[in-house]
C-alpha cells in the first residue's frame, strides 16, 4: 500500500509560493518570481504524474476490481457539530487524478507561456502570485475530500479568477468584467451553498466517500417529498447544479464568461478554458452516484441545460468577431456538451458511457482549448488586436502558431484521429442511447463548432492580406514551445484508453468506437469545415448575405440574444433603483424619523408647558392650592369607593 501523503505538497507548494511572492514579491526582480512560480508548478506537475502512475498502475484495485478512493490526507479544519465537520485533505480517485493531470499540465504550460507573454508587463510579479493562488485553489477543489472543502476552494477559484480578470485594474472594462464574473458566480454559489445545506441536513455528512458510497445516507434518507413535489435530494442536487452551472457558464448564468476575456490571454487559457470553467462538470461528476440514484430529475435538468447551452453558445459563436469571445462561446458550448453527456449517462458499466465521455471530453478539451487560447494569445501578441476583421493572411508570419492552431481546430471539430474526435464521438454515442432528438442537436452543435472554428481560422490566417503597421513576428520561444507541447498532447491524447481509467463506477471497461455514430459525426464536422472554407477562405459576400437573410435572428445572436441587457435591467433598475434606494430612504426617513420624532415631541411638550411657570406668585399659589385640593378630593373618592 503506497503512502500518498506526499500529495499534500501539491496543495502546499503553490500556497507557499503565493504567500511568499505576495508578501515579498516586490523585494526581488519580476522575472525571478516568474521563474519561482514556474518551477513550483513544474514540481507539482511531476508530483501529479507520479501520483497518477502510482495510483493507476501500482495501487492494487479493490476486491470488485474498482479503483479505490484513497484519503491521502485528511485534517480536521472546523467542527460544526459531532456529525458535521469540515476536513481539509486530498482524495485520490480516477477523476480527481485525471483533473490533477489536466490542471497541473495546463497550469504549467501557462506559466511558461506567461513568462514570455507577460514580459515587461507592469505587475508581472502580481500576475504570477495570482496564478499560483489560482493553481492552489483549483487543485484544492479537485482533490477535495468533502463537499464543503470543495465549496471553500470553489470560492477561492472564484476570487482568483476575479483578481486575474481584473488584472489590468486601470481599465474600466476589465474592472467591470471581473466584478460581473464574481457576482454572477457568487450568486450561483449561493445555490451551491443551499444545496450543501440541504444535503448536509438530510444526510448528516459532507464527506464524499460516505455520500457516494454504496450505502450512502443520501440513498436512504432524503427520498421523501419535501417541496413542490420533488424529493429533498432532488432539490439539493438541483441547487448544487446551479452552483456548477454558474462556474461552468451554463445558460443562463453564462454571461460573465465572454466578458471575462478582458483578462490576460494566458488567464483565459488557464481559467476560462481548461480548468475553472469545467469545475461545474467535475462537481456533477463528483456527486454522480447521487444524481443517478436519487435525483434523476436533477440529472435531466443537467442534460437539458447542457444541451441548450451548447447549441445556444455555438450559434452566438458564429456571429462574434472578437477571437477571444468566439473561443469563449465555443468553450461554453463544449462544456454544454460535457454536461449533456453527464445528463444522458447512467451509472455503471456501459451505462456510464456518458460519464466517461464527459470526463474524456473534459480531458481533451482542456488541452486543445488552452492551445487555442494560447495561440490566440500569440496572435494578439503579434498584431495587437483581437478583432478578426483586422487580421488575415497571418500564416506566413506566424508558422508555428498557425500549425498548432490548425491542429487544435481540427481536434475541436472532431476530425479523426485527433483527440477531440474520440471524446466527442463518445458523447454522441452516449446521447444516441438516451434520446435521438438531443443526439441530433449535439450533431448540429458539432457541425456549428467546426464551422465557426474554421471561420475563425480562415479569417485569421488566410483571407485578405491585411497591412500591419509593423510586420507581425512569431512569438518568443517560451510561448511557441508551450504551443508545440500542447499540440502534441492534442494529437495523441485521443489514443488513451480512457475508459480503462475513468468510469462512473470506477470499474474499467472497454468503450469501443462505434462507426455508426462516428461516421455521421465526422461527416457533420467536415461539412462545417467545408462551409467555412467556402465562406471565409477568400473574401466572399455570402456570410453577409446569410446574416441579412436571417435578419432578426442573426442580429439577436450577434447581440448574444440580449441576455446581458436583461441582467443589466434587473440589477441596475430593479434591485438598485427600486429596492436598495427605497430602503435607504426608508431607513433615513421612517425608521430614523421615528427616533427624531420622539425627541421633537419631547421638546414640543417642554415648550408647551412653560406657561405654568408664569412668574406670577398668585398663579403659583393657585396651582399649589388646587393641586392639594385635587389630590384630596381624588383620594377621598378613591378611599370611599
Amino acid at each position: 500500500m503506497i503512502d500518498f501523503s506526499y500529495t499534500a505538497l501539491i496543495l502546499l507548494i503553490p500556497l507557499v509560493i503565493f504567500v511568499l511572492s505576495g508578501l515579498f514579491g516586490n523585494r526581488f526582480k519580476p522575472l525571478v518570481s516568474g521563474i519561482i512560480g514556474t518551477a513550483g508548478l513544474f514540481v507539482i506537475w511531476v508530483l501529479s504524474l507520479v501520483t497518477a502512475y502510482q495510483y493507476f498502475f501500482l495501487t492494487e484495485k479493490a476486491a470488485d476490481g474498482t479503483f479505490q478512493e484513497l484519503l491521502a490526507v485528511n485534517i480536521r479544519w472546523l467542527t460544526f457539530s459531532d456529525k458535521l465537520h469540515i476536513d481539509m485533505g486530498v482524495l485520490l480517485d480516477p477523476i480527481s487524478i485525471m483533473m490533477l493531470l489536466v490542471v497541473t499540465t495546463v497550469s504549467f504550460m501557462v506559466h511558461i507561456y506567461s513568462i514570455g507573454y507577460m514580459h515587461g508587463e507592469k505587475g508581472f510579479m502580481r500576475f504570477f502570485s495570482f496564478l499560483s493562488l489560482f493553481s492552489f485553489s483549483m487543485l484544492g477543489l479537485v482533490v477535495a475530500t468533502n463537499i464543503f472543502q470543495m465549496y471553500i476552494f470553489w470560492e477561492l477559484v472564484g476570487v482568483s479568477s476575479y483578481l486575474l480578470i481584473g488584472f489590468y485594474y486601470t481599465r474600466d472594462s476589465a474592472v467591470a468584467a471581473s466584478k460581473k464574473a464574481f457576482i454572477v458566480t457568487r450568486f450561483a454559489d449561493l445555490g451551491f451553498l443551499v444545496g450543501i445545506l440541504i444535503l448536509s441536513y438530510t444526510t448528516g455528512t459532507f464527506d464524499f466517500i460516505t455520500l457516494t458510497g454504496d450505502e450512502s445516507p443520501a440513498f436512504t434518507s432524503g427520498q421523501g417529498i419535501w417541496f413542490m413535489g420533488l424529493s429533498t435530494m432532488t432539490w439539493s442536487m438541483i441547487f448544487v447544479f446551479i452552483g456548477g452551472a454558474g462556474k461552468s457558464a451554463m445558460f443562463p448564468l453564462h454571461i460573465w464568461l465572454p466578458d471575462a476575456m478582458e483578462g490576460p490571454t494566458p488567464v483565459s487559457a488557464l481559467i476560462h478554458a481548461a480548468t475553472m470553467v469545467v469545475a461545474g462538470v467535475y462537481l456533477v461528476a463528483r456527486l454522480f452516484p447521487i444524481y443517478t440514484t436519487t435525483a434523476p430529475v436533477a440529472l435531466d435538468v443537467v442534460m437539458y441545460v447542457g444541451a441548450f447551452s451548447s447549441v445556444f453558445a455555438a450559434i452566438i459563436a458564429c456571429t462574434q468577431y472578437d477571437i477571444k469571445r468566439v473561443l469563449a462561446y465555443s468553450t461554453m458550448s463544449q462544456i454544454g456538451m460535457m454536461m449533456f453527456a453527464l445528463g444522458v449517462s447512467g451509472d455503471g458499466g456501459h451505462e456510464g458511457l456518458g460519464f466517461m465521455a464527459s470526463m474524456f471530453h473534459l480531458f481533451t478539451h482542456a488541452f486543445f482549448k488552452s492551445l487555442l487560447f494560447l495561440a490566440a494569445g500569440a496572435i494578439i501578441h503579434a498584431v495587437h488586436t483581437n478583432v478578426m476583421n483586422e487580421m488575415g493572411g497571418l500564416r506566413k508570419y506566424l508558422p508555428i502558431t498557425h500549425a498548432t492552431f490548425l491542429i487544435a481546430c481540427l481536434s475541436i471539430s472532431g476530425i479523426p484521429p485527433l483527440s477531440g474526435f474520440f471524446s466527442k464521438d463518445e458523447i454522441l454515442a452516449a446521447g444516441y442511447e438516451k434520446s435521438l432528438l438531443l443526439y441530433w442537436v449535439e450533431m448540429i452543435v458539432s457541425g456549428l463548432t467546426a464551422f465557426y472554428m474554421f471561420r475563425l481560422y480562415y479569417s485569421i490566417f488566410w483571407g485578405k492580406a491585411t497591412q500591419y503597421h509593423h510586420t507581425p513576428h512569431e512569438a518568443p520561444k517560451t510561448m511557441t514551445v508551450t504551443l508545440i507541447i500542447l499540440a502534441v498532447i492534442t494529437l495523441l491524447a485521443g489514443f488513451i484508453p480512457f475508459s480503462h481509467f475513468v468510469s462512473s463506477d470506477r470499474i474499467p471497461f472497454a468503450a469501443h468506437l462505434d462507426l455508426s455514430i462516428a461516421l455521421p459525426a465526422v461527416l457533420v464536422g467536415l461539412t462545417g469545415f467545408f462551409v467555412a472554407t467556402l465562406f471565409y477562405r477568400k473574401e466572399t459576400t455570402i456570410p453577409g448575405q446569410i446574416f441579412n437573410f436571417l435578419g432578426g435572428f442573426s442580429r439577436a445572436a450577434y447581440h448574444k440574444f440580449y441576455i446581458d441587457e436583461f441582467y443589466l435591467f434587473v440589477t441596475k433598475k430593479i434591485i438598485f433603483n427600486y429596492i436598495s434606494r427605497p430602503i435607504a430612504w426608508f431607513d433615513r426617513h421612517i425608521v430614523d424619523g421615528a427616533m427624531n420624532g420622539l425627541s421633537y415631541v419631547t421638546n414640543e411638550a417642554s415648550f408647551r408647558i412653560r406657561r405654568f411657570q408664569s412668574g406670577q406668585l398668585q398663579q403659583y399659589a393657585l396651582v399649589f392650592v388646587s393641586g392639594a385640593i385635587f389630590l384630596t378630593l381624588f383620594f377621598l373618592y378613591l378611599w370611599t369607593h
Binding site: 480536521r76 479544519w77 472546523l78 467542527t79 460544526f80 457539530s81 458535521l84 464543503f148 465549496y151 471553500i152 476552494f153 470560492e155 477561492l156 476570487v159 481584473g166 485594474y169 486601470t170 474600466d172 474592472v175 467591470a176 466584478k179 464574481f182 457576482i183 457568487r186 450568486f187 449561493l190 451553498l193 443551499v194 445545506l197 440541504i198 448536509s200 441536513y201 434591485i575 438598485f576 429596492i579 436598495s580 434606494r581 430602503i583 435607504a584 431607513d587 425608521v591 430614523d592 421615528a594 427616533m595 425627541s599
Partner: protein
C-alpha cells in the same frame, strides 16, 4: 485574587499615567504600552485557558474571583471567564491595540482623547469578565458614555447631533436592561433565600415563566439596541459616520458586541423559556436586519455609511444565530461577533486613513487609489473579501457555521429565514465590489490624489495586526470554535431543557 482583575487595573493605571503625561508623544506611548500589555495579557489568557481545558479542567467558569461588594444587596465583584468571554476579550484587546495606532495623529486634546478611549476599553473588558449583573451593567454604561465625548469632540460632520443621538439611544437601551436586571434580581430566589445578581447562580434556578415573558423583551431589546437590532439601529450610521477613526473601530468592532454578548449571556441564557416562546419575533426582526442592512448599504455613497449598514447586517446575523438556539448556530454567532469585530475595525481604520489622505468619504469623488496607495488599497480589498465571506478569512468560518447550524433547525420557518439570511452574501459581494471598483480600481479621477502618500508605519501596525487576526481565524478556526463550543454547554442545557427538539 484572580489575574483577570488586571484587565481592569491596567486600563485604570494607563489612564492615570496618561493624565500625568505632559507631552503629546508621552501620552501616545503610555497608551500604547498600556494597551500593548493588555493585548499580551489577553493572548496569555487565551493560552492559559486552553491549557486549563486541555489539562481537563472542565469547570463552567475559570479564573473565578468573588468578593462581596454591597453586603445588603448581595452585590458581588464576581469575575471569571468561559470560552466565549475569553474569545471576546481577545477580540477587544486586539481592536483596542489597533485603535491606538489608528488614532496616532490625533492633534486636538490628545490626553483627553486617549483617556476616554481607554475608559471605554476598560468598560468593555469589565463587561466581558464580570459575572455579576450589577457590575456587568456598571461596565456597560461605563463603556457607552465616553462615546459622547469621543464623537462630540473629535468627530466630524454633524458630530454633536450624532453623538447625542447615539448616547441617548444606547442609554435608552440600557434603561431597559436595568429594569430587566432588577426583574431578574427580584426573581432570583423564587423559593426564599437571599436575592442575588450572580449570573451563574440565577442560571441555576428556574425563573417563573410569566416573569420571564415580561423581562425577556426588555433585556433583549435593551441589548439589541447596542447590537443594532432592526429597527433600533439608526444610531449606527450617523454615529459611525461622525465618529473619529479609532472610535468607529472600537464602537463597531467591540461595543456593538456588548449587545450581542448581552443578548446571549443574559437574555437568552437566563430566560430560556421566554426566549423560546418569543424568540420568533426577534428572529424575524433579525432576518429583516440582515438583508435590510445589506441592501441599504448598496445605495450609500459615503464609505462610513456603507460600512455602518454592513455592520447592521452582520450584527443582525449575530442576533439571528443566537435566536436559532442550537449549538452550532450559537457558536457561529460568537465567531461572527469576533470576525465582524476585527473586520469592521479594519474597515473603519482603512476608511479613516483614506479619509485622512483624500479628505472625502464620498466614493464618487475618489478613484484609482490602488495606484497611489497600494498598501491601503490592498488592505481594503482584503477587508472587503473578508467581509463578503471569502474562505481563508474569519467571515467565512463564522457565516458558514451560522448557516449550517441554522439549517439544522427543524421547521420550514427557520429554513426560509436561513436561506433569506444566506442570500445576503450575494448582496454583500455586490456592495463590496462596487466600492472596491469605484474607489480603488480604474484610473485616478482626481489629479491632486497623484501626490498622496501611502500608509505610515503606525497605520501599518494597526492594519497588519487586524489582518493577522482575520486570517488567523480564517485559516485555523478549529481552536477558536472548540474553545467557544466548550463555553456553550450550560446555555445549551437550559435551552434543551426548555424544548428538547431544539437541535
Amino acid at each position: 485574587m484572580s489575574f483577570l482583575t488586571l484587565f481592569i487595573i491596567i486600563p485604570a493605571l494607563t489612564v492615570i499615567g496618561i493624565l500625568l503625561c505632559k507631552k503629546h508623544m508621552q501620552v501616545k506611548w503610555t497608551a500604547v504600552v498600556g494597551m500593548g500589555l493588555q493585548l499580551i495579557l489577553a493572548i496569555g489568557l487565551i493560552f492559559l485557558f486552553l491549557a486549563e481545558r486541555r489539562s481537563g479542567n472542565m469547570d463552567e467558569i475559570l479564573f473565578i474571583q468573588d468578593n462581596v461588594w454591597y453586603q445588603t444587596l448581595n452585590i458581588h465583584f464576581f469575575i471569571g471567564v468561559d470560552g466565549v468571554s475569553v474569545a471576546m476579550i481577545g477580540l477587544t484587546a486586539l481592536v483596542v491595540f489597533a485603535g491606538i495606532f489608528a488614532s496616532w495623529d490625533i492633534a486636538d486634546l490628545p490626553r483627553e482623547f486617549f483617556t476616554s478611549l481607554i475608559l471605554l476599553a476598560s468598560g468593555v473588558f469589565g463587561f466581558f469578565i464580570s459575572l455579576d449583573l450589577f457590575t456587568m451593567f456598571l461596565f456597560y454604561e461605563l463603556a457607552v458614555i465616553p462615546m459622547y465625548l469621543l464623537i462630540g469632540i473629535w468627530g466630524s460632520g454633524p458630530r454633536h447631533y450624532s453623538a447625542m443621538k447615539l448616547t441617548l439611544m444606547l442609554m435608552g437601551g440600557s434603561a431597559l436592561i436595568l429594569l430587566g436586571i432588577l426583574g431578574l434580581y427580584f426573581n432570583s430566589a423564587p423559593d426564599g433565600g437571599p436575592l442575588t445578581f450572580d449570573l451563574i447562580q440565577i442560571s441555576k434556578i428556574q425563573i417563573p415563566v410569566d416573569a420571564q415573558l415580561f423581562f425577556f423583551p426588555l433585556l433583549f431589546v435593551g441589548f439589541g439596541v447596542l447590537g443594532a437590532l432592526f429597527p433600533f439601529h439608526t444610531w449606527s450610521p450617523d454615529g459611525h459616520a461622525s465618529a473619529p477613526t479609532a472610535v468607529s473601530m472600537l464602537h463597531a468592532g467591540v461595543l456593538m458586541k456588548l449587545g450581542g454578548y448581552g443578548c446571549y449571556r443574559v437574555a437568552v441564557f437566563l430566560l430560556p423559556e421566554a426566549a423560546h416562546q418569543l424568540g420568533w419575533i426577534f428572529l424575524i426582526l433579525a432576518t429583516i436586519g440582515v438583508i435590510y442592512g445589506a441592501l441599504g448599504a448598496v445605495w450609500q455613497k459615503d464609505l462610513k455609511y456603507i460600512n455602518a449598514y454592513s455592520s447592521v447586517s452582520h450584527c443582525a446575523l449575530v442576533l439571528f444565530a443566537i435566536l436559532i438556539f442550537n449549538e452550532t448556530a450559537m457558536n457561529g454567532a460568537i465567531m461572527q461577533m469576533i470576525s465582524h469585530g476585527i473586520m469592521t475595525a479594519l474597515f473603519f481604520a482603512l476608511i479613516g486613513m483614506i479619509y485622512g489622505r483624500t479628505h472625502t468619504r464620498y466614493i464618487n469623488e475618489m478613484g484609482g487609489l490602488m495606484k497611489v496607495m497600494p498598501f491601503l488599497a490592498v488592505a481594503y480589498v482584503i477587508a472587503g473579501l473578508a467581509s463578503l465571506g471569502l474562505p481563508g478569512f474569519s467571515g467565512f468560518v463564522a457565516e458558514m457555521t451560522i448557516f449550517v447550524g441554522a439549517f439544522q433547525k427543524i421547521g420550514t420557518f427557520y429554513r426560509v429565514a436561513t436561506i433569506i439570511a444566506a442570500s445576503s452574501i450575494v448582496v454583500t459581494a455586490v456592495y463590496i465590489l462596487r466600492v472596491v471598483g469605484i474607489l480603488l480600481l480604474g484610473k485616478i479621477t482626481n489629479p491632486e490624489y497623484e501626490t498622496i502618500t501611502d500608509a505610515k508605519w503606525y497605520d501599518k501596525i494597526s492594519v497588519v495586526a487586524l489582518i493577522f487576526g482575520i486570517t488567523l481565524i480564517g485559516l485555523a478556526p478549529l481552536w477558536l470554535s472548540d474553545m467557544i463550543t466548550g463555553g456553550l454547554g450550560p446555555i445549551m442545557q437550559k435551552l434543551l431543557a426548555v424544548a428538547p427538539i431544539l437541535n
